[in-house]
């Protein structure tokens, strides 16, 4: 909605545009911009051409002698379309025109020019023009051009909130200004209406229309609108069409109540507001051929629908130059019905926007009176009968106890000042009747949004301002608690950042084609979005990998030079999957599980000398996971390797991936990404990815509990190092498990500290060096105790795993 500040002044006395904007914005009618119509024109004045001569040095230039109220002044001009006696627009030195041009006194080919004669383009009046602007109507030289061009105005661009349909009309805006300043609103002229029996009008369905006022106007002359009318419309940002349509539009923009005009010659029989019947169609004014749905509100004549009620008129009864007789519609269409049509046909219109927010149902006669008055003035018509179907709305009355209102206004002095409250409400047109403890408020028709005590309180707040409430420190009724999930997530993120990873946030959606690159299953089973704006929004992510990979690819694409600098990303967010659960009132049927994703690539050090540098590998990733689990006191998961990881088909290198499991529950997967996948993504280095389920980690984490201190041992333990020859089919983890299990209780730990595969060991074998720690409660173990268990360990490891000691 936009209104002209000058036009507003004829409705209500008001301060300068910036102050009006401030008033309205504070009252909740946000003024987005103030468009100064005279911007850049303040140094432009009317000048009359006294004489014309050729420029001595340039054929294409003319020397113009002008006056702008004083002595003759000389201007050099390139245009040819002016003659002596013409009035033109002169930009004086110092002017900064709307097109950005800066005007200075300057010498042009040796002759001083004291300004510039302007074209329409230079004045910002048109996007194209030829020659300079010749002013019509004999203006006075020296007058500011803004006056002559009617540009001494400002346009306020407003964004009323969705509950204030009344502010989509000048009347509503004027009321808001008046409520703030205490001034009176001056309504525009209208004609008195007498309701009779003709023309014939009916309501077929109350759901479509509650009141239908129809008037006949004869002897209409359709033609272009006079300047007065088109200028007024321009203030509302609307182009003139013809005098009839323009009067209807002006009525709507002024009073906020949309009206419609029919060519009476093209209407047969009674106009009826009713619901559409199945199979009915109509062509709208915008040429759209609409298949009406059962339940759509329409206005129909004897032959069928002629308008989509409250949204748009039909082509068949459009007013044209041959129209001589009009039917004027001023109706009350319920917001619900109009919203329904707008939504089901995706049709937006100025009328629809007003009806769906709610119009004043009590103003039909006033609106008809204004419309008829305008048409009689600008289209030469004569009113010949007004009829009504349905009945006018009765004003609503709210009963609210005074104590309740005071309570809602607690904290402001207004809470105790019932006299002032009543004054404010009266100023807004709310009738106030105090009878003892209970107040009766009669709500004016233009405020359908006022329904409960809180709404009344808000009206008072809008006027006294939130600043009348003192800031108060609220009392604590209960002690706050730390949220364990919030704390654990932050702790996780901080630790990972400390380990050199960058946290990233990716969109929760992607395309199925992208998902398919990673894993066919992901593409097929991902939760879809029904109305994506683009392909990239068609599916919710089932894994954090696509997002992290996006970060990786973006980062690498912007890195220059030969060095594969380190890349480490992590992200914590839910991923989505379908479930069999039926959606309900509070059940979505979509599963969300919080995950942590980690992606590593490139070198290990951000800064190190080349001989110290090395590429990150799967063990760097494993180390991050171990450190995290330790920090969160998450224990007891086992690493499983050697079987395919369900749900990640094709994602990992089959020989370099594993999962962490607690019993049968998988809590993490990690490993090297599949070379085939990386090939598809055109990645030419190794990437390592882990995805961890935060839910089970959180619920099994001991982090919430305090760690229990264990006194460091007083007696030195026994320590032996072994180098085993391990077949490649046996994992180091299996060997460690065996040593610990078989060595109970004396073996405290076994830890791999080196690994070698190469010429020095047989093919198919790896040398694994382990340090085994032996301990006994309360003393050091004896050599013979250790020897005994070592002998057993060597036998068992040979038997179970085919592992033997490496020869020296």
């Amino acid at each position: 909605m936009q209104v002209s500040w000058k036009a507003l002044q004829s409705w209500v006395p008001c301060p300068k545009p910036s102050e009006v904007a401030e008033i309205l914005t504070r009252r909740g009618i946000e003024v987005e911009t103030i468009e100064d119509r005279g911007a850049g024109l303040d140094q432009v004045v009317v000048a009359r051409i006294l004489d014309l001569a050729k420029h001595p040095e340039a054929d294409r230039l003319t020397l113009c002698g002008v006056t702008f109220g004083g002595d003759r002044s000389e201007i050099v001009c390139g245009a040819k379309n002016m003659k002596v006696g013409d009035c033109v627009a002169l930009a004086l030195p110092g002017a900064r025109l709307p097109n950005g041009a800066k005007i200075e006194k300057s010498k042009i080919r040796g002759v001083t020019s004291n300004g510039m004669l302007c074209s329409e383009v230079e004045l910002g009046l048109a996007s194209e023009s030829e020659g300079i602007l010749i002013l019509q109507g004999d203006p006075r030289p020296g007058d500011p051009i803004v006056k002559v061009l009617n540009r001494d105005d400002a346009i306020l661009h407003l964004k009323p909130t969705a509950n204030r349909g009344d502010c989509l009309g000048m009347l509503g805006i004027a009321r808001e200004v008046a409520a703030a300043t205490g001034a009176q609103v001056c309504r525009p002229e209208g004609r008195k209406i007498t309701v009779g029996k003709e023309p014939s009008v009916a309501i077929g369905s109350e759901g479509v229309c509650t009141e239908f006022l129809l008037a006949r106007m004869v002897a209409v002359k359709v033609g272009p609108s006079p300047k007065e009318l088109s200028d007024r419309l321009e203030g509302y940002g609307v182009r003139a069409i013809n005098n009839v349509v323009d009067c209807a539009n002006l009525t709507m923009f002024e009073l906020g109540h949309p009206v419609h005009t029919y060519d009476a010659g093209k209407i047969q029989g009674t106009l009826t507001a009713r619901t559409a019947r199945s199979g009915e169609r109509m062509v709208l004014l915008d040429e759209r051929d609409l298949a009406l749905q059962e339940g759509d509100g329409v206005i129909a004549d004897a032959r069928g629908p002629v308008a989509l009620a409250g949204v748009m008129g039909g082509k068949s009864s459009e007013v044209s130059e041959s129209t001589v007789e009009l039917l004027l519609e001023v109706a009350v269409f319920p917001a619900k019905a109009v919203r329904r049509s707008i939504r089901s046909h995706a049709l937006r219109s100025d009328a629809g926007a007003r009806f769906e927010r709610g119009i004043d149902p009590t103003d039909t006669e006033a609106v008809m009176g204004r419309l008829a008055w305008l048409l009689e003035k600008f289209a030469g018509g004569r009113l010949q009968g007004v009829a009504r179907a349905g009945r006018g709305a009765a004003p609503r009355v709210l009963e609210i106890s005074q104590a309740r209102l005071s309570r809602l206004l607690e904290g402001s002095a207004i809470a105790r000042d019932s006299k002032k409250q009543a004054e404010i409400l009266s100023g807004l047109g709310v009738g106030v009747q105090a009878s003892g403890e209970t107040w009766k408020f009669s709500i004016p028709g233009h405020r359908p949004d006022l329904e409960i005590a809180e709404d009344i309180a808000e009206e008072i707040v809008r006027t006294v301002g939130f600043e009348s409430f003192a800031s108060v420190t609220p009392p604590l009724a209960e002690f706050p608690r730390l949220d364990p999930k919030f704390e654990m997530t932050l702790r996780t993120k901080r630790l990972l950042a400390g380990l050199g990873l960058n946290e990233t946030i990716s969109y929760a959606f992607t395309s199925r084609a992208t998902l398919r690159k990673y894993c066919g299953e992901w593409a097929d089973s991902a939760v879809g979005i029904a109305n994506p704006m683009s392909e990239d929004q068609e599916a919710l992510v089932p894994s954090l990998l696509p997002g992290l990979m996006g970060a990786y690819l973006t980062t690498r694409a912007h890195q220059f030079g030969s060095q594969k600098s380190p890349v480490g990303f992590f992200e914590v967010r839910p991923v989505f999957s379908k479930s069999d659960v039926q959606p309900g009132k509070t059940v979505t049927g979509v599963l969300e599980s919080e995950r942590l994703g980690i992606l590593l690539a490139g070198s290990v050090f951000e800064s190190a000398f080349s001989q110290e540098q090395r590429a990150a590998d799967a063990r760097d990733l494993a180390g991050v996971i171990e450190t995290l689990f330790d920090a969160l006191q998450f224990r007891g998961s086992k690493i499983r390797q050697g079987e395919e990881i369900a749900g990640y088909g094709g994602v990992f290198h089959p020989g370099a991936c594993a999962s962490h499991q607690v019993g049968k529950q998988r809590v993490a997967v990690f490993g090297e990404l599949s070379p085939a996948l990386l090939g598809t993504l055109k990645v030419r280095e190794k990437l390592f990815f882990a995805e961890i389920e935060m839910g089970p980690i959180g619920s099994r984490s001991l982090e919430a509990r305090e760690r229990t201190f264990r006194a460091p041992r007083e007696h030195p333990p026994g320590e032996r190092d072994f180098a085993f020859l391990v077949p490649d089919s046996v994992s180091a983890g299996a060997l460690v498990d065996l040593l610990r299990n078989e060595g109970r209780p004396i073996v405290e730990s076994a830890h791999v500290f080196d690994r070698y595969a190469g010429d020095q060991v047989p093919k198919g074998m790896t040398s694994v060096a382990l340090r085994v720690i032996f301990s006994v409660e309360g003393r050091s173990p004896t050599e013979s105790e250790i020897d005994q268990v070592v002998a057993k360990l060597l036998t068992r490891s040979q038997e179970v795993l085919g592992v033997r000691l490496r020869d020296r």
Partner: protein, 343 residues
Amino acid sequence: MDLDALGAEALRRVEAAASVADVDAVRVEFLGKKGKIAASLQSLGALPVSERPKIGALANAWKQKIEAALDARKGILGAAELSARLAQERTDLTLPGRVLRRGSLHPVTQTFEKVARILGRIGFDVTFGPEVETEYLNFDAVNIPGDHPARAMHDTFFINPGVVLRTHTSPVQMRTMLKQKWPVRILCPGAVYRCDSDATHSPMFHQVEGLWVDRNVTIGHLKGVLQYLVEELFGSGTRIRLRSSFFPFVEPGAEVDVSCFQCGKSPRDGCGVCKGTGWLEVLGAGMVHPKLFIEAGYLKEGETPEMTGFAFGLGIDRLAMLLHKINDLRWMFSGDRRFLEQF
């Protein structure tokens, strides 16, 4: 050789030692287990018993004397050697340290934590909810019925009929109220979704909403809490300005402007943060609409509520952009390390 001659020779040799290593060699030669003094005492057994203590005492006296001389000489030489070494050794500590990858937390995480810590101190508990929501909880339950024009402002992504990507975190408030009795004092953070996208709008962004429901909660309390929040965020002296506005779930509702933390009390035209207005639009707020209490089961239709409440919401991404002067919302979701590593 007799002990006196041996001792005198040892002292001469100590004096002649040129380095700490020489001193240590002299120590071994004379005082070691197999040293010359020990060797000369080997013959002790051959002496008459009455002589032995005398010789033993003499040997001890010499040992102490030599020991003292050795220590003194070693002290002098050691100091000289150390200063020579220190004069020579140089480690260039201007060389770059050996640095692992430089990690960082996303500005959205940091900003959210900031808000949560501030409001946590005055009793707000952090509460989470799903990102996929039912249409009922996202809209109807928070007073945005099916055909209400306010729904159009939300540009909703649908998953299924009745199931949406949440357009705000208000459904978390509703879930909490459905689960627990009042008083309620919560903070609901998280990603929210709307289908529009340009330099200032992203289809996914982050919000945090606060809700405080109790007996006699007033507009003054709302202002007090917001005032505290913005002073902690932007520095003391930061002011707030509430302008009437409309959000279906509150009544009265307000847009909350915060005085520009960059140009503050004297707005400058050139201020890149507030564009010269002196104010930043950061928050929406208001008093909880009684329809929400009815939906939550706190209140029956037509009853006068015992409880009141306020709610507020702010865009975390926008706040982070203001705090860090980030020029384009799209950086937030770019995954570009050149952006991420700056935080």
